[in-house]
Symmetry: C2
Subunit: 338 residues, 2 copies
Amino acid sequence: MHETPDIPTLDDVANAAGVSTATVSRCLNEKQKVSPKTLTKVMEAVESLGYTPNFNARAMAAKQSHTIGAIIPTMENAIFARGLQAFQEKLLAQGYNLLVSSSAYQPKLEAQQIRELVARGADGLLLIGYERDEEVYEYLARRGIPTVLAWASIPDSEHASVGFDNRAAMRMLADKVIEMGHRQIGVISGIVDGNDRAAQRLAGIQDSWQAHGFRLGDLPVIQTSYEIENGALAFEQLVEADVKPTVIMCGNDVLAAGVISKARDLGFDVPNDISVTGFDDIELAKHVFPALTTVHVPHRQMGRVAAESLIGLIENRGEKVSHQLDVFIEMRASLRRL
Amino acid sequence: MHETPDIPTLDDVANAAGVSTATVSRCLNEKQKVSPKTLTKVMEAVESLGYTPNFNARAMAAKQSHTIGAIIPTMENAIFARGLQAFQEKLLAQGYNLLVSSSAYQPKLEAQQIRELVARGADGLLLIGYERDEEVYEYLARRGIPTVLAWASIPDSEHASVGFDNRAAMRMLADKVIEMGHRQIGVISGIVDGNDRAAQRLAGIQDSWQAHGFRLGDLPVIQTSYEIENGALAFEQLVEADVKPTVIMCGNDVLAAGVISKARDLGFDVPNDISVTGFDDIELAKHVFPALTTVHVPHRQMGRVAAESLIGLIENRGEKVSHQLDVFIEMRASLRRL
DNA sequence: TTTGCGCATGTAAGCGCTTACACTCAAGTT
DNA sequence: AACTTGAGTGTAAGCGCTTACATGCGCAAA
């Protein structure tokens, strides 16, 4: 505990300005309820004392914090960066602040951080994906915390969401890949346990695979966490198999970047020897060589819409709706027709 | 404003357990001061009510939040990710929570967020770099907020810091580049205004350049913000000059990745036609092709040491010291001897 | 048995704000 | 002249915790 210097409080300001604390509070929060003369007087006192309101006291007295919390699975790569950025911009414009935590893809940790943010007085929450313990949703409901789920869309749900259909999107890409002549697909998926987006994407590939009459057992799949290095490692494994894949479909762009890097190290020419696809269309995707064919996700739009929905929920206008955004295939050089 | 359901408070728990609020509080914070029997009784009540302490009330009453704040310039790329991760891990282990904001490289915004975090009751702050308005430091001092500056080291300063000498490190790299025969260097720097790390790195190159007897006017420099795309753009400009550079030295790895990508698009062979260097050694650095020669920064160590120093400051052991960490040149394929 | 002491617990005073309600007073109504 | 009205302000009751201090108790020492 460091010594606490004298920090000015509302009372100090009230004394200095010769008014009551209520008036000072009004000057700070509802200017229109105060006469111009008093306003000036109070603001001068605020200035000269260097007063800043104590956030905790305010949140406690007002029973709302104008803060919304977001828990994302990771900050380590850029997957969520752009969307979160847009989310925050929109929030700030509406007078809300954002608190971000990262759950490291661990449901337990996420649950803990949800409680933490709620305990901190978050007025609302942004969560990624929909798959979590029912208990968590119950907790949120009991506390009456408005919540929006992003990066996923669940039309049939009781939850507000804004996102896209990971499964359909990946299926679309897989259909395209197969249509282009590929019959040996190697899959590098994110770890599906506890990650519904990864699970849905993998399911999308499998849907397409089976729809084209192939057997699930003939589709090699490696699950690994979203790190560039892991993409590289998984690729090594995949190309050691008896049946060499003609294309590697990755659960996201980060894995794909690792694949491309390792492929070159091992002497493969992408896409002539082997094709590669990603998902997300992060900035990196068009700067790797060859540029990555991937599924483009409208990150900024997603963040913006999420913010709008959440604020709507908090301020009691707007219902729990699901926004389904459109994604499309971004064809680039890493995928070749056979 | 959504309706507020009945959220259990300390009082509710006290009633349910048939003890006073003080005792419940003790059970939660200083178990050893309470008899085992009461502890059990209280904990059962906590469980059955699903009680979670109100953070704001706690922070307010206890005058400390066990929260520390960090403000980083950007979350958009991985520059700070690893260091921050280590920082957080260490904090958690010591019972502290981390709040992160991003200032988008804008000093004004940073100043605002500092106040915001302080108003939220942060017990301490982690800031990046040292260059900021004296007013900000005064504010921090007046409020008695322990602060550690990271990604920089300022031995002569009154501030605690943990980092490395950006200028010396970059100079070391530039010396190496020149020693390897390069005489035409093109520089792509971060925007130095408001970013001391970028400024120091640029200065490091200039130091070396002049020390080798060249004129500053002959060193082309482009400043641009740290985005992969901007690296690409800057490269285009640089190679349009009359005197073609034989090497592009970049302010960080992100810019360098952009350069490598664009160089290939324009038909350059890196490193045979042109060499490229970066700074930071983020994960991407060894996965671009060719792998990037860069300055390796011990991000995790920096985060860990920063956490230790800060907690030391907060808990009144430990002085304001400067930790200077060692960096080294990571030689990879993107830099070639002429 | 009495005294003293320390442990476990309770009492109650805040922490710095917001806000319902009460009050004052000048201007407008009838 | 008496009465509304409402804008501007003040009073004071919390918000949900922590903690200094007071209290009560059992037990060892005298």
